[in-house]
Symmetry: C3
Subunit: 451 residues, 3 copies
């Protein structure tokens, strides 16, 4: 055993007396919690650039009430909502040339939280230097406002660029506004758990509505116990891989889902719908969670539409899965009048199915009551990474980092499609990209469109 | 003093340091409370048999979140709502041939809470025996699903059959869906308190709307201080009796109301309405409370309609007093626009009057602040029975039992009507049945219809 | 240092260990708090006389649930809401000749809380003397029902008559019904803070809408740093004074706002609007807060309209600022569809601006986090008066009294208008009344209407 791992083991013992102790700390987000301190080492999405117009934008982040605004110079500020003077909310402040002015008595704070004006106080008042508004650094990129709320806010680490948002071979659509009233970890643990897609969503490869069956490859073996299911810690976070057998022993079907720290998720490869007039449409999807507090988060969903693309109705459309989801939410069926559950007729739409199950676990699930199985390897790995990162922070170190390429892009493994066994590398490294699509979709003559 | 009562006195001292301590424990329902442990020795209604169709039915009972379902074999299960695997709610589960399947990962539990399938786990996994869902035995009888949540759930005591539901001489109508947001004891204490019907409801015998006065016997003396008001502990629970004088010293008018443990209530005898074209209509009423938790319950109301019967509008109709009650609730009058109370114009409908007063006492009334009077003997007796039962449970004994007849029927005293003084037995035994009606109602010629 | 002040200093040390301790106690209102005990030495408004008709009126006062009613003899009672018998709410009681009767069992209480009838109890029951309902003395004056909830309720101090309500030279309009969900001190501290009117409301003298500018005196210097801003403890409470320079060194413009204990506020002098057809219209305004509990209050607004008066639309009308305020609340602009704040488009209407800012400070602001400036002298003085009064009560003395004149009227300083420097007395005494108006308003020929 080398020194590093000895140190790690010791720290583990010190940090958490028991696994139950870890599980209790795990979902916390506030600055007074170890998990919250860990989360503050990463960049987080705040809002869309287009949300910032001529009025302040109130936003709760990791349990802190903040207000974002775009100054008259176009620069975005993110400061504490409660005015340092008399506790009035700066969300009702006025945007001025040199900062955000509290509407109550005119104290004006710049993007560094420094007070630059006190119109009712004498010139040269010593209060000017005493009045400090908490602030966080902000970057705008890819139509999103990002912030870093960690210990190095004067010189924050560079913003990692999320692969799909950095793409230029199609139209990227970003949508936000789907708010959830439970822990972000209910979502994250759902995402790294590939088994649920075969039960909750019944989305086995090739299992599709009757009208598109002629276009779908049916050669894939969808029996769970015949698949290889592996999960790996990676340079960006973790990934989950499923390898299916097919009718041909030289050909496997691989599905990869990836998670970059702390809350970015990416489905493997192309997730096109399958209409009868299918030609070459395809899209790629992912998203990132804005962590509001222990029991709330907001989803930012990303979709890359490429030329020739369509927006299918078979899978949930982007517009269905964001702002529209919360109202008039239904699955694929009709509500029965004797169904008294909050979500009746919820089955049939994967985003709705995930919402219902995640919410049903409780705002913060009693994880100490769980009984895990072998299919929960993704959940176990995610918790292990979180625990190691929390322990690192407890020691004064940084949590697990997100490695980026020379362009600051986070490249995550999105391999999905048919592959020869020699192509498949079951390990932490990214497999060859399947950006161009290797799939289950055939044209009208029965030929595979993506091989 | 014999040994048994000595033991009882000691236990009492040990169980509650003071009456205030008892009053604090009295309204509790959870499994961690002494009152809740006591309640778990009885059978409780869950839902109507007709509520269980092809979707699970979530139901909170005594503070526990459960889900009821009717399997494809027609057998009803009642198991804990939170899946033993990852805490998802089984109310969103799927009904299968052999149990209820969690929609998240397919773990399937039978009516004994045993896991029978884990589709994402290897054959023969040891988790199969470890995964235990809490469950309770269920019986269906009289259109109602009943459960027993006590210590002998593998071999529960027989279900007591409630008299009115066991009757075959008319149509029994059972309705549920009237939910209350206060302790079930506010209702029970209201029921065993016969004084309130002369004040809150102004329902003295013979005090009726003008249009039916010609059909009503007015010979009964309705001055409270001239009546005999007695309360008795019985083999089924307790009963309250009022004996009125009449113009004739050989004839008394008797009104009996009974309560069987823990939450069954039964009005005395016939409670027919009195329309001008009265012939021989009559009905009998009662109900049982489903105890949801400390601050919530649901009413199941029973009415027996017999041949020739009508459904009066003078007294609240069955349909008014159940599901419909919560919406657009009013008494007999119109709301005045300057009346700012939650329930304006609430007087004039007895079920509404009871609701308003019971709710106004508070979700859990501060009983230690009460000042009881002589008319509160029913309340005092009910509390004494609860306290004895709670103390028995604290000792490891069973609480007061409900004695049934050879057909497992709970026969409660429902004597109501005119009686010769010799017929009246003021004691714990049932008086002669007044099923056939002995009443205040006369025909058009002035002759008593029920004597 | 004399003995009295020594005693005071000692008491201060004993009463609060620190200023933070005082700030924590400061907003409390319950009878178990020092601040609540202090507030109980004053008279408080309960409701309008016209609110009391033929049904009881539930009203929460200083954290106590009470019910007001007008007996059949016209006399108003104010007693505890919870019946001394079985905790039913007396808001559902019946108004009888000799008191308020609980609908449950008929116990009837007179205005002194004495039980006068127990219809279900034997004659001469000892419970009759034991049943005591809490009660408070009531006075009706100026269309308002007032109560005193303090230690001398059998012989309460005389009701101070509020100046504006005692006036006979115009029509007094009293409106209530504007309920707020935050501490009454957020309002009071806003009122004694004259600086905010120059920032939040931008209501500098002479700064008016373009269409009425020709009628407005523009000679006043509205630069805050050139004004004299003083605050004084007075015989009735405190007052805030602003003195502006004008173009003429012999003429100053003075604005005075006054607060009488505990929650009466009075704007200085005439607050007329300024329509183009202005002649001699004027009105005077003020109000008093009904303190519901720590986090709620209701506003009673008073306006005196004098002959020839109009109701302007430039300033908020009386009808806009009371009952109507809570619904469809807006400021002067239109809501922008990207404005996600609770109050969008809130600017432009002073009563709305005050509501938004006061609510934004939090139900109970975290005052220990404040950083005060010189313009906060009013806030500081108000807190000092509250603290002294609380300390007096802690010693067993009375809090600061409200001095009234020979007619029991509270005369507060409302001086507003132009004045020669010799007329201005910067001290606790009232300045000459400006009832008849000395103002900024000119007629069409440019002559000052009020000098």
């Amino acid at each position: 055993m080398d020194n590093a791992s000895e140190k790690s083991v010791e720290a583990q013992v010190i940090t958490f007396q028991s696994h139950a102790d870890f599980l209790k700390e795990f979902p916390k987000t506030g600055s007074d919690s170890l998990a919250g301190k860990m989360l503050r080492h990463y960049w987080h999405p705040v809002c869309l650039s287009s949300d910032l117009r001529d009025v302040p934008y109130p936003v709760r982040m990791l349990g802190e009430d903040l207000v974002a605004y775009r100054g008259l110079d176009g620069v975005v500020g993110l400061i504490s909502d409660r005015c340092a003077h008399r506790c009035a909310s700066l969300q009702y402040g006025q945007i001025r040339k040199d900062g955000l002015e509290c509407s109550y008595h005119g104290w004006t704070f710049n993007t560094k939280g420094k007070c630059v004006r006190m119109p009712l106080e004498p010139e040269g008042t010593p209060q000017m230097n005493r009045a400090k508004q908490n602030w966080y650094p902000v970057e705008e990129w890819a139509g999103i406002v990002w912030t870093y709320m960690g210990p190095e806010k004067e010189t924050p680490p560079p913003l990692p660029k999320i692969d799909i948002l950095a793409r230029t071979d199609g139209e990227v659509v970003v949508e936000r506004g789907d708010f959830r009233n439970y822990s972000y970890l209910n979502f994250m643990e759902n995402f790294v758990d590939m088994g649920h897609i075969y039960v909750l969503h019944m989305l086995a490869p090739g299992v599709v509505p009757e009208e598109v069956e002629p276009y779908c490859d049916k050669t894939v073996d969808v029996e769970w116990r015949n698949m290889i299911h592996r999960t790996f810690e990676t340079s960006f976070g973790l990934k989950c891989v499923l390898v299916h057998n097919t009718e041909n022993s030289d050909r496997k079907f691989v599905n990869t889902w990836s998670t970059a720290l702390p809350s970015y998720y990416r489905f493997g490869g192309v997730t096109a719908g399958l209409p009868p007039d299918f030609t070459d449409d395809r899209r790629e999807s992912g998203g990132i969670l804005r962590i509001i507090d222990d029991e709330h988060f907001e989803m930012f969903r990303f979709t890359l539409f490429r030329p020739g693309n369509f927006r299918s109705t078979f899978f949930a459309r982007a517009s269905d899965t964001s702002r529209g989801l919360a109202e008039g939410l239904t699955g694929g069926g009709d509500r029965k009048d004797y169904d008294v559950r909050k979500y009746a007729a919820w089955e049939g739409r994967p985003p709705v199915e995930d919402l219902v199950i995640q919410e049903s676990q409780g705002a913060i699930p009693p994880r100490h009551l769980e009984l895990l199985g072998t299919s929960d390897v993704g959940v176990v790995l995610l918790r292990r990474i979180w625990r190691k990162s929390m322990e690192a922070v407890a020691r004064g170190d940084k949590p697990k980092q997100v490695v980026v390429d020379e362009n600051s892009v986070v490249k995550v493994d999105t391999f999905k499609g048919f592959a020869h066994p020699d192509e498949i590398h079951l390990g932490p490294d990214n497999m060859p990209s399947s950006e161009d699509g290797r799939g289950l979709i055939r044209d009208k003559k029965g030929a595979l469109v993506y091989k």
